[in-house]
Amino acid sequence: MTDPANLIEVQGLRKYFGGGSHPVRAVDGVSFAIRHGETLGLVGESGSGKSTIGRLLTRLAEPTGGSMMYRPQDGAALDLATLSQSQYRPLRSRIQIIFQDPYASLNPRMRIRNVLDEALDTHGLAPGSARLPRIHALLEQVGLRSEHAERYAHEFSGGQRQRIGIARALAVEPQFIVADEPLSALDVSIQAQVVNLLCDLKEQLGLTLLFISHDLDVVEYLCDRVVVLYLGRVMEIAPTRDLYANPQHPYTRALLEAAPVPDPAHRRSITLLKGDLPSPAHPPSGCVFRTRCPQAAEQCAIHDTTPRETSPGRWTACWRNE
């Protein structure tokens, strides 16, 4: 997988919660790469491990196994999985995260100026008289006004809070941002504002983005390539256009089909998936999707479902796509 175009290479990443003989396998052998300057979508339903992967990359959770190579263009490659927290700390100015819930991720007792101060202080950026102009510039960059710096989080709407979360991530001039469901808590009319903001910032600043979402329409709109997860494993990786036009894995097909199309002229009956997500503590043998797969066969229980490259840039875990 080593390729100079890659900024991040995740290989065999695992995160188990709980000990004993049946830990919860939240992330179980996930491999993918993120290229310099691209937006990679990470999609899946609840329990697929998508948020956990975001937290592992930012080391807000400790991986159980596997590697996460970080290959900046201006420095030596590092394995994010094996760094200690103190070794990782300087990297936090390069790798940032935007959280899902803008209500829970801002300290209610801090003025927005102090929220941004804290980020800048931590990395010794814009000291002294450069500080306040920098804070005002950051707020304007995300579409807020400089006088907003003196306010508290509760004085803002959800969309504005998410803009503050984005400003905080941008404060340290990162090159890579993990956006963990940044739109889920927002109303649709506000979602569009934030999507446009993310697109603009990415173009202006040359950011690389890992966009974690369950909203397939937004992912199609925003992302260059998509990784589809199910029960902590990769089902399919493909360029966005190919994935949506021609999904190869039965799970991807089911997911795309289940998303309601906002057009009453296109009502259709769909193949419903049976049942619920299996327990991640007792995943099925072979393919983890086989208990709900409309095409499940006996071979699915024994086949190796490590994703294989079926055509350049397209990976799928279904053994049928040989």
Partner: protein
């Protein structure tokens, strides 16, 4: 919707609800009128704070006493025996006899709506014992049949389980079983699939559609998801800041949205932008999805600004501060809901003056 009024199962006229807050009374719902025919699904669509949930709670009489809700207007509900009752003027004991019986409700979050310390079977049985006067054994048998009706696997075991032992999708099925237990003629579903994943959402919507077809019940479907509306509803009422701004049959609304808010709402969906925008982008010479460095995305059309505070509503149209079509008159008075076609209504002064003139240019913000 006027054509079906004579036969509608529920007809709401001029519903207004206000609440007492520390900062004074706020008007959460104002002048809401709609009707639902037997077997019909009407969707109330709106963003947070638009008043769609307050509307449903007003109809069910479920406002907390401490909120000091004041309701005005009428809500005529046709009972099974053919009599018409005004839900807003009904005595509490009479309303209680209807609730969970002839009219039932499904809530967004089943975990907070189900009793955590009682088995799901007991909760369903309670409803039929109360309303149908069944004895314990018959009620338990009915509970089991209801769980089978909503396609819960191994219903005979599940009936003895507690809500925490079930997945989110299963809990929502239990909520539906509970709502359907007394065979209601009106089902109010308040964001029933919002907390669910898309594949589970598809299961629940298919189940609700099947039950509706079998029983002929009317459904008031409250949601913010326009995709679900397009796939599921017959008629739509779009709410903004407590008022209906547009109501129309579902095909007409999506094919030709008239109110600037409805149009903005549809155009800011990435899925809609893709279908409409990509052809435009390609005509303009953009290469779509060719690589990270090339310009390839049409910007999403966003509605600027945010919803006004209910504590200080603007003097005129509530959407005016965000509206691309705003004119001087918009700030003078709240526009009335006016018919633009036999079953379509729009609340917009500008549209009313120049009916449906050049409304095909995009809302920009």
């Amino acid at each position: 919707m006027s054509a079906i009024k004579a036969t509608s199962r529920l007809e709401v006229r001029g519903l207004s609800t206000s609440f007492a807050t520390d900062a004074g009374r706020i008007q959460s719902v104002a002048d809401v009128s709609f009707s639902i025919a037997p077997g019909q699904t009407v969707a109330l669509v709106g963003e947070s704070g638009s008043g769609k949930s307050v509307t449903s709670l007003s109809l069910m009489g479920l406002h907390a006493r401490t909120s000091q809700a004041q309701m005005q207007g009428e809500a005529w509900f046709v009972r099974r025996d053919g009599t018409r009752v005004n839900l807003l003027a009904l005595r509490e004991d009479r309303l209680r006899a209807l609730r969970g019986n002839e009219m039932a409700m499904i809530f967004q979050e089943p975990m907070t709506s189900l009793n955590p310390v009682r088995t799901i079977g007991a909760q369903i049985a309670e409803s039929v014992r109360l309303h149908r006067k069944l004895d314990r054994a018959a009620a338990n048998a009915h509970a089991l049949r209801m769980l089978e009706l909503v396609e819960i696997p191994a219903a005979a075991q599940r009936v003895h389980q507690y809500p925490h032992q079930l997945s989110g999708g299963m809990r929502q099925r239990v909520m539906i079983a509970l709502a359907m237990a007394c065979d209601p003629t009106l089902l109010i579903a308040d964001e029933p699939t919002t907390a669910l994943d898309v594949t589970i959402q598809a299961q629940i919507l298919a189940l609700m559609g099947r039950l509706q077809k079998e029983t002929g019940m009317s459904v008031l479907f409250i949601t913010h998801n326009l995709g679900v509306v397009a796939q599921y509803a017959d008629a739509v009422a779009v709410m903004y800041a407590g008022r209906i701004v547009e109501s129309a049959p579902v095909h007409a609304l999506f094919a030709d949205p008239q109110h600037p808010y409805t149009r903005g709402l549809l155009e800011c969906l990435p899925g809609v932008a893709r279908r409409q925008g990509h052809s435009l982008a390609q005509q303009a010479g953009f290469q779509l999805f060719s690589g990270p460095a090339t310009p390839r995305r049409t910007r999403l059309l966003a509605i600027a600004g945010q919803v006004c505070s209910p504590l200080s509503p603007p003097p005129g149209c509530a959407f005016a501060p965000r509206c691309p079509k705003r004119e001087g008159v918009c700030d003078c008075a709240m526009p009335a809901l006016q018919s633009t076609a036999p079953d379509r209504q729009v609340r917009c002064t500008v549209l009313a003056r120049q009916p449906i003139a050049n409304h095909h240019d995009p809302v920009t913000a």
